[in-house]
């Protein structure tokens, strides 16, 4: 399992579950980068089957629809989809 880490301003543990092929996921990755927030992302489609299953259990806990992108902030807030305003609001300095 290889969570990718992007360094930046610490806003707690910010984890993005994404698909490498999905443009909405890419927009979310870019937004997090632009916001300069320290975060991790996982391209779930690139994981080996057993790792993927494990990660999807976590995604399902936050987002039962298991859709992408799923963003989990500090283990207490989840934003599903590229909701730019909501993400900016949740991660504002």
């Amino acid at each position: 399992m290889a969570l990718e880490h992007v360094s930046g301003r610490n806003m707690g543990r910010v984890v993005l579950y994404a698909l490498s092929t999905c443009p909405w996921c890419n927009k979310t990755k870019q937004l997090l980068k632009d916001l300069g927030v320290d975060h991790y992302y996982e391209n779930v489609d690139l994981l080996r089957a057993e790792d993927r299953e494990q990660v999807m259990k976590t995604v399902e806990k936050w987002n039962p629809a298991c859709s992408f992108p799923t963003l989990v902030i500090n283990d207490n807030k989840c934003i599903v989809g590229f909701k730019e305003d909501e993400i900016r609001e949740a991660l504002k300095a």
Binding site: P23, W24, N43
Partner: protein, 89 residues
């Protein structure tokens, strides 16, 4: 699984034109944001190489055609998404 699937711009353009014709013949239109749509088209082609069929780039495929039948583009959820959001992706 590797993400190093090389898809040429030429392939993307050809597939884009093909999808545009198919969509319009069925009364649909591709997203006018061509850059975004090209990225989607590339995702479809990556999935075709990876799985052997064009699974939706925004949904997680199981890698089994029968299991993924519902998410092969145009997927079963397209009309519901178009009705609800005015677009699929």
């Amino acid at each position: 699984m590797s993400d190093k699937v090389a898809i040429s711009q030429d392939e993307i353009n050809r597939q884009y034109e093909r999808l545009k014709r198919q969509a319009e013949a069925g009364g649909y239109y591709l997203n006018p944001d061509a850059k975004f749509t090209m990225e989607l088209v590339k995702g479809l082609l990556v999935n075709e190489r990876r799985y052997g069929y064009q699974a939706c780039p925004c949904r997680l495929a199981a890698g089994d055609r029968d299991e993924d039948m519902d998410i092969i583009c145009p997927c079963y959820y397209r009309d519901a998404d178009v009705s609800q959001y005015g677009a699929c992706y």
